[in-house]
Structure formats: C-alpha cells, structure tokens
Amino acid sequence: MSGASPVLAVAHGVAMVGLDACPVRVECATGTGLPGLRLVGLPDAALRESVERVRSAIERQGLRWPGGHRVVVNLAPADLPKAGSGFDLPIALALLAATGQVPPSALDRFWAVGELGLDGSVRAVPGVLPVAAGARDAGAQGLLVADAAAPEAALVARLEVTGVADLREVVGVLNGRMTRRSGVPAPTLPSAVTHDLAEVRGQAVARRAVEVAAAGGHHLLLAGPPGCGKTMLARRLHGLLPPLSTDDALEVAAIRSLAGERRPDEPLSHTPPLREPHHTVSAAGLVGGGSGIPRPGELALAHRGLLLLDELLETPRPILDALRQPLERGEVVLTRARRQVRYPCEVLMVAATNPCPCGYLGSPARACRCRPDRVERYRSRLSGPLLDRLDLHVELRAVERDRLAGPPDGEATEVVARRVAAARDLAAARWGDGRLNRDAPVAGLRATTRDRVARTLASAVDQLGLSARAFDRALRVARTLADLAGEERIGGDHVDEAVAYRLSDLAVTP
C-alpha cells in the first residue's frame, strides 16, 4: 500500500446555497489501487452522474483519461451539499490538470461552471449570474462558462468571463494556444412603463393610495367588485416604482437565474419585477421550498418589485400566514435539516379581494346574493394580523359608465412617478441604506412628529375603533404623505389622511 497520494490538481467551482455562493475546491488525486474514479464530498444524484459525462466528454474530444489509476475527486468543503451539473467542467479540468493536459496554475485564475455533454460540448446551467458574482467575490479573476451563459455571467463587473464551446477549446485557451473569447455582457433594458396611470378613469382615492404605496413601499389592499379595476390599478402601481439600480437589477436577475426562469442571453432588465401568483399557489410556491436546497418562491422572485395577490381571501389562511414573517423581515428564511437558506424579499405587496363571496356587494350593476352574516364571516378572515400588515386599505366601487367613456381625468404615470421618486429620495436620505418609510424605525418616525400631531392620531385611532397597531402603521403612511408634500415634519393633515386608509373593523355597519 502506498501512503497518502499527494494532491495533484485543484480546480475551482462555486456551489450555491440559496443566493449565497460558496467556493468549492475540486481536488483530484491519482494513486495506486484498482483503476476507477471515485467522487466524494456530498454530491447529489445529478452530480454523481457527472463522472460518466466527464469521462465520455474527455474521450470524445481526443483528450486523455487517466486510465490505469485509481482517481479520487473530492469536492471541498466536504460537508457542504452540492447539487446540479455545473461541476462537470471543474471536475474535467481537475482531471486534465492532474494528467498534465492543462497547466494547474491557470486553474487558480480561471474558475469554471458548466455541464458537459457526452460529446464534450459545454452547456449552460441555471444560476450562472450568482455563481459568477460569487466566484469574483471569492477571488477568481476569470470564469469559464458555456457560450450560451457568457452574456449573463459577463454582467458581473471585474471578472474576465470566457465563453467556451467544448472541452478542446477550454484546453486550448488554458494553454494559451487559442484566443480567449471574452463574454459580451447582455444588453441592459431600461425600465419601461407599459401601463399608464392616465388610462384609469375615476377612482381618485385609489389612485392616490397607489401613489402613496409606491412612494413609501406600503402594502396595499384593494377591495372591490369584479371589474372595478383592482388589477388594473395594481399594474399601474408597478409602473410607478423607480427603475432598479444596476446592483439591484443584478440581484433580481440572480434570483430569477437560480429559479431557472431567466434565459442566459436575456437583457438585464431594470424594471422591478411584477409577480402575480394565482390564488391556488402553494405555501412552497409562495415562500420557496423544494427538496435539497430550497428554491426561491414567488416572494423572493418579487424582490425589489411588486407581489400582486389577487383574490386574497380565496387563498387559504395558512398560506397567507406564511407571508407574515417574511414581509416583516424582508427576507425568507427556509430552514431544512442540513441547511438554512435565505432569500431577500423586500417586496411591495398589493392584495386584491372581492368585498363578499359573490363579489357584488355594493355594486350598482348587480345585486349581491350573499347573506349578510356570510359577508361578515368572509370579511372577518381579513381581520387581525394580516390586515395589520397592509398599511393602506381602499374600497373600490365600479366606475359609472359615462365616466369610463369620458376623457382621461387623472395624471399620467410620468408625472406621478416623479413625485414618487422625490419622496423616496427624501426617505432614503433620512433613514439611510435606501430604506423606505415602510421599514423605518419607529423612534425615527416619532422624532419627525410633533407631540400634538401624535396626540391627534392617537385620539383618531381610539375614536374610530382601530387597533393599537394601526397607530404605528398610520404614522408610517403619514410620513410618506409628508414626504410627498416635501415637508420635514409630519403634520395634522398627514395623519388625518393616513387614518382614512384604515378599514375599520366594522366596515359592514354604518
């Protein structure tokens, strides 16, 4: 028996745990023993099959397979579970380095991610963008990726992204025999307004609420009969959100890439995401989940954008309850036996609901067919903790036909968006970190309020029978109203208006 084999070659890859990138050393040692290849270091099923792909790829490309030796490939750190086929390329590189076909020193600079075909072609894997960012942060100078994935990986700054077609090209590039083809970053797509607020007729209160929601990041509840424009308004709210910064756009793209929703050659969009999960969505679909490393759900996919939950009251209560903590913390924490995965989810939530089970309560067009006690039970599902997290409540009514046919009677998105951006800037300057009034510290809010105004708010909350939590929520909304007006201190008018956006518990009775 020989002693411990010396490590012969090391290639570098990246494993993703949620959005967190962990550098992985792919170590390859050859030694005496029965010929064969062993892959160790917690590979999952797809990764274990990697051996077959790598062997076929190396042989078909006319490269040398380390035959006649016992070969061990270790993925370190060994206790980190690794998933997916993206390690095919680093494993192949480690083997090629161990057999002297590529210079080992080149592998310190060039990290790699990609799946291998049996013919030796290099294929793209989902999640290249966060892998590339992770590689750069862990010290890589360059990254070898499939041609198809190069535009996405090249979005990451200060990283030499090289697109490769097959293993032969990889070997040529690393030996300096072939010219490196640098990845060309995908074009960026400026934020585009598709739905204009000017198209909305009537609904003056709802339009104002939409503006306030966009300016302060306040979660919004729209209640009204079918066809009164809830979804329409929600889409316009999306148009009011300021475009994403490049960093934010990359973060959003990284989550989409992880979820496998992003084509690698897709332009980098600066439009905030808009997610509209159907009301039959499962808890895992909403907050994320799945076997192995949990995948991002709709909440994370709506990060820095808008989550529109239509038919809120048709969604089962446990699923709605699962929203509460992530909304409060701005991140989803998914804890599994081996791992804890965090996904950011700073979302603006817009919930839409019918006023009653049949939807026509209060509609002038159709009579409601619900028994009043059923309406009351239906609405009571809204009450409590969930309602408390929705800062703005608006009851919509259908717009009369003559106003629908009439001329536009409201401001355009462009005009409102300017006010929204100005208010957001004020809030960001006050709280730092680009924070919104939704997430502002309570003490800070109180500091910008006169005592007299706070007392007015307290008495209004008391008189109108609102919950104690409504005080805090209304103060946040009032802060945004003051910001929209460009005022440093929260005034009486601001708190009074803020209270008007709270649905009282007894909305059924006069």
């Binding site: 209160v205 009043p372 009851e395 009514r397 008007a500 006069p510």
Partner: protein
C-alpha cells in the same frame, strides 16, 4: 320545589315575578316532550277552569304546575346561566312584563316569558324602525335620521339588532332619553350578529346608554331562521308604530309589518328608489295602505295620536358639518341623507384627494360624519 331551585330562580326573577310560577313555566319549556297538545289536554281536563279561553302563553302559566323532579337540575343551570349575564326574567302577565305585549292584542303568540338585560320599554311611546340587513347608504341614512329625531323627541326606538337598517336605527337612538331596545333573534349567550355582540360593539353600547336587550328564548338557543322571524312579532308588539325603511321581497321587515297590521299597530313605510331591490318591501306596504314616512314628524304624529306634530326644532344643530370645509359640507348637505363617495367628493369640490380624506377623517373623529360602504354622510340633518 327545593330551596336551591327557588333561590336560583329568585335571583333572575324580575320584580313582581313569582319564582314558583317561573319554575312551572320554565320547567314545562325544558321538558323533553312538551307539546302544545299536551297542554291543551291539561286545559281540557278542567283542572283549572280559569284557563279556558286563555291564549297559550297565559294558559301555560296557569296549567304548568310544579316542575317535575327530573328538570330541577336543568332549571338551576338555566337560572345560573341567565344570572351570570345579568338577565332578568318575567312571565306574561307579570308587572315587569310589558303590558302591551300581553294585552291589547290577541294573546295567541305573546312570548310566555321574556328575558332581558338592561331596561325594558314599558311606558314611553316606542317606534319600531326595521329594514334589511343589506341596506344601502340611503337606507341607513334615513333610518338614522328618523331614529335620532324620534329619540330626541322622547320616543323609544325598538328594532331587531341586525346589521344594516336595524343597526343604524339603534346607533342613532343611543343618545335619546328613552334608550333603545334590541329584540334578539337568539338567546342571550349567543353572539349574533357577531360584530354587534363583540366587546365595544353595538349591544354593549345599547346597555351603556340605558337601553335593553330582550329575548324570548333560552340562553343557548341559536339565531335559527324561525327564531329570527318569530322575534319580529315581538319587535312589532313592543312598538306603537312600525316604520319599514328598506327591504327586499322576502324581507323580515314584512313579517314585522304584518304582525303589526294584525294587531292594529300603524305601519309606515319610507319610499325609496323605485328600481332599487331594497325598495320592494316599503313600496309594497305603501300599496297596501301603509302611511308614507318622509320625515320624522310623520312618525311622531302617528305615535302621539293623529295630529301632525312638527318635530320640535329643538337644538337645530349649529354645526352639522363640524370641522368640514364649507364646500365639502355643502356637497354632503345636498346629498343628505344619501352618502357621497369620497372620490366624488374630491371631484365635485375640486379638492385634492388628500385634503378630502384628511377633512373627512377629522369629521368622523368628532362624530359629525358617518362612514358606510357607499361613502360618507352627515350624521345629522343639515
């Protein structure tokens, strides 16, 4: 009758109600196989000749006799449950039992006993204001207007405590001198309708304002449709006039109106929008000869006997609009008692939504504005 049973019942019996008689009637009610036929047989036996010709409720009182031993425990439990809620009980014919419910109308279906919290409307003239649960803003506005005006004039308001019109009437009458009376469609332990029964809800405020909650049912009996319909006759029986504000073709308000008509209690109806579904009941009543009610004096005239009594212009509210800006108040006053949607308020005054919302909130806080599903309206007549 054991001392324990006597003591328990004595604690819930109203002034002038005999615990022994109470035990007899309630014992009969609690009996597993009590039937009207069994009671008739007892009457026919001639055990008590005075029972012949009486209505069933009065007969029960005379014929029930001592409760059998097997219901003693249930009776004690019943009395304790009532006592925990502060309920008083009286039998038909007792001094505390409202005489107009027992006499003056055929004694066929007066409740055998009444259980109430708070105060019963015994002497003051009383008006029943009833209507649909699914009320429009116009309906609740009119109900509140009528209720407040008659309450200010010293007339009690009785209704069914339901959502919608009933609630608007009770709410508006809270501050009146006579208080307001809710006739429940369920027992006292049942929280129905829930928004009114919860702490701080309408029922609690009715009691605080010196009004009463009445039920003809055992404390645990639910708000079954039959119970709710039956309570409408009690609403009518406690009133000197019945005003129907809004209701559909099958509204319980029609039951109340029919019960009143049967007993010769005047029925008034508030005309509504001819095409609104909630106008069916009042318009049908108007067609059948009910008096139109277009202002509070119409009701007061009927209650006070024939002559039209103008509502005392007492305390013409100097500031019905409170802190509202003049133009906003003018729009609301013009629409009153119809509510105005906040969107429209902003459009018609040309003000920004923000200022309208702030102003209406202030007005709601000081109580000059009422908010409903159809918008806001002035609480008091402009």
């Amino acid at each position: 009758m054991t001392a324990a049973l006597h003591g328990a019942l004595d604690r819930v019996a109203a002034d002038g109600t005999d615990p022994a008689a109470l035990a007899g009637v309630l014992g009969w009610v609690l009996r597993p196989r009590r039937t009207a036929a069994a009671l008739r047989r007892r009457a026919a036996d001639g055990a008590n000749p005075s029972a012949v010709g009486m209505g069933p409720a009065a007969q029960l009182r005379v014929l029930a006799g001592d409760p059998p031993a097997e219901v003693h425990a249930a009776l004690v439990d019943l009395a304790q449950r009532w006592q925990r809620l502060g309920v008083q009980v009286a039998l038909v014919g007792d001094p505390a039992y409202p005489p107009r419910l027992a006499q003056g109308w055929p004694d066929v279906d007066a409740p055998a006993f009444l259980a109430w919290r708070g105060r019963l409307p015994v002497d003051p003239p009383t008006v029943a204001i009833v209507g649909a649960r699914q009320a429009s803003g116009y309906g609740t506005g009119v109900a509140a207007w009528l209720a407040e005006a008659v309450a200010d004039a010293g007339v009690g308001v009785v209704s069914g405590g339901a959502l919608g019109i009933d609630a608007a009437a009770h709410e508006a009458a809270l501050d009146g001198v006579s208080g307001t009376t809710v006739v429940l469609g369920c027992g006292h332990e049942v929280a129905y309708p829930r928004p009114h029964a919860r702490p701080g809800g309408l029922f609690e405020r009715v009691l605080e304002a010196g009004g009463g909650l009445v039920s003809e049912l055992l404390p645990w009996q639910p708000a079954a449709p039959a119970h709710v319909r039956a309570r409408n006759r009690v609403v009518a029986g406690l009133a000197d006039a019945v005003v129907v504000v809004e209701g559909g073709a099958r509204s319980g308000a029609l039951v109340t109106a029919n019960a009143a008509a049967d007993r010769g209690i005047p029925v008034l109806a508030v005309p509504g929008d001819v095409r609104a579904p909630g106008s069916v009941a009042p318009h049908r009543l108007l067609g059948e000869g009910a008096a139109p009610c277009v202002e509070p004096s119409d009701v007061l005239a009927v209650v006070r006997g024939g002559t039209s009594v103008p509502v005392p212009p007492a305390e013409p509210n100097p500031t019905p609009a409170g802190p509202l800006p003049a133009d906003v108040a003018a729009v609301l006053a013009a629409a009153w008692p119809r509510p105005v949607r906040l969107d429209d308020l902003a459009v018609r005054t040309g003000r920004s939504v923000g200022t309208v919302l702030a102003a209406t909130t202030r007005a709601r806080v000081v109580g000059v504005l009422a908010e409903g599903p159809d918008g806001v309206r002035l609480r008091r007549a402009p």
